[in-house]
């Protein structure tokens, strides 16, 4: 993503720096380093339907970009291309310098995509989180430590004690966000992370991101509050 405000990147996707926002605090807090996410000429079509025509985006450690646009405009599609569960039709996506979807890239990504259908419903939130923590090569003890710390930080103890099929959409969303942070990622991909959250949960989510100033974030959202908390706005037209 170019750094000039209001720059049109390609013919389709518009990226602008959010007005009135400063990333100075975060920029001071993190060491300058190479881009965490580097997207060049990303396009994606499904059959004859072109969902994303061209997207260029570069995100440094600690930067946050909001994907803004109506339903079906390609926000989730781009997140999936970065997560590596979808190949671009054109262009390329690098995460920490590695092609999206490779083992090295996946180590750097924490994703919360379609939360409602991404947990094992008959297990508790806690057991689900422990399972995903173990997939990050964490030892059993380390996995328990990470899960315990996140449950405490996000005040998830009561939610995590419930079987997931007894949790509301907002509760599952909070578990999804916790899962995205389990592997100490360099970048988190959050698909409408605050859509069903109450005010308290929204506050805890943003506070958790504030406590991780080196973690870059890409957030698909419809909420203006989310936009205001991001450094960049990537506008997806119809």
């Amino acid at each position: 993503m170019a750094r000039d405000s209001g720059l049109l990147t390609g013919a389709k996707v518009v990226a602008t720096r959010a007005e009135g926002l400063s990333t100075a605090t975060r920029e001071q807090a993190v060491q300058p380093s190479r881009a965490v996410v580097e997207i060049t000429g990303l396009g994606r079509r499904f059959g004859s339907h072109e969902v994303v025509r061209t997207l260029d985006l570069t995100l440094a450690p600690g930067e946050r970009a909001a994907f803004w646009g109506p339903n079906g405009s390609g926000k989730s599609t781009v997140l999936r291309c970065i997560a590596g569960t979808l190949f671009p039709s054109s262009g390329r996506v690098l995460v920490n310098g590695f092609s999206a979807g490779t083992l090295e890239a996946r180590r750097a990504v924490g994703a919360s995509l379609a939360q409602e259908r991404s947990f094992y419903l008959r297990l508790t939130g806690h057991v689900n989180l422990l399972f995903f923590a173990r997939l990050h090569s964490a030892s059993e003890r380390e996995a328990r430590r990470r899960v315990g710390a996140l449950e405490e930080e996000l005040e998830l103890e009561d939610i995590a004690a419930e079987r997931v099929d007894r949790c509301s959409t907002g509760m599952v969303q909070q578990l999804g966000f916790a899962r995205a942070l389990l592997g100490n990622p360099a970048v988190v991909l959050l698909d409408e992370p605050t859509r069903s959250l109450d005010e308290g949960a929204r506050g805890r989510l943003w506070a958790a991101l504030e406590r991780r100033p080196a973690v870059a974030a890409l957030i698909a959202t419809h909420l203006k509050e989310d936009l205001e908390r991001c450094d960049w706005r990537v506008v997806f037209p119809c």
Partner: protein
């Protein structure tokens, strides 16, 4: 891999009745064949039974090993299908685990469960239904179970790749496993088949698995050659199947169907 197996065990444990019914069905299956065996007692041609002292002994081994072969060759496909239907497959693919870890981890629990169930069938056959283990080579028994499972893991990974691409492939998988078992001497000796079908059956790797395990249990020897053949089969098919699995996963990423069911 262990994390995936433990997760499966945790999910299965929540279906307590299903867990008990699985063993109950297996026991009932054995009892039915026990009475079939008593019905044909004296009529059966023992020379055809590959060293087994009775039809029941013959078929008990067939049933036990069929479960292991079925788990090794269909376990991954069924688990992938469940992940597709529950919507968790995409989130698994995002995790930092290797393709081989994903495939082995998803197949691990069904495989381990089938091994335990096979041992259960054999022991129940011995303890309650008079199966004799006087000549059994327990080393051969174990090696044959493992070699058979390894040999059919390649097929299992290939069928997993099929399910990734076509989604509803599990019916085909079930049919394939049944036909393989029937043509390889799981339930009746190959010699009762028409000549041309018997020839095909003897070429199938499953026939080496059944004959080798029966040799290990009823004669205590002659199992090494079938074990070697099965191991060689595994060494060739598993790497090829992993390539196919990788291609299938890439296909779903390209087509955008990974999170579809």
């Amino acid at each position: 891999m262990l994390a995936l197996a433990r997760r499966d065990y945790a999910v299965i444990r929540t279906y307590r009745l299903g867990f008990a019914l699985d063993f109950g069905f297996g026991f009932a299956n054995l009892v039915v064949f026990y009475f079939i065996s008593r019905t044909v007692q004296g009529v059966e041609d023992l020379d055809r039974l590959g060293g087994a002292p009775s039809y029941f002994a013959f078929v008990a081994v067939g049933i036990a090993l069929s479960g292991v072969i079925s788990a090794a060759s269909a376990g991954l496909a069924q688990r992938l299908r469940e992940e597709q239907l529950s919507g968790t497959l995409e989130m698994l693919v995002v995790q930092p685990i290797r393709l081989t870890e994903l495939a082995a981890g998803l197949a691990a629990y069904p495989f381990l469960f089938a091994m335990v169930r096979a041992a259960f069938y054999i022991l129940v056959g011995g303890g309650l239904l008079g199966l004799s283990f006087r000549q059994t080579s327990w080393l051969g028994f174990l090696v044959m179970l493992l070699a058979a499972a390894a040999a059919f893991s390649g097929l299992g990974i290939l069928l997993g790749a099929l399910v990734l691409v076509v989604k509803r492939g599990t019916t085909l998988v079930g049919l394939l496993i049944f036909v393989l078992g029937a043509l390889s001497g799981a339930f009746f000796p190959l010699s009762v088949l028409p000549g041309w079908l018997e020839a095909i059956g003897r070429l199938l790797p499953t026939s080496y698995a059944f004959s080798g395990l029966r040799d290990a249990i009823f004669q205590g020897d002659d199992w090494a050659t079938p074990a070697l053949i099965l191991s060689a089969f595994a060494a060739v098919t598993i790497p090829l199947a992993l390539v196919a699995f990788r291609l299938a996963l890439d296909h779903t990423r390209r087509a955008g169907t990974l999170n579809q069911y």
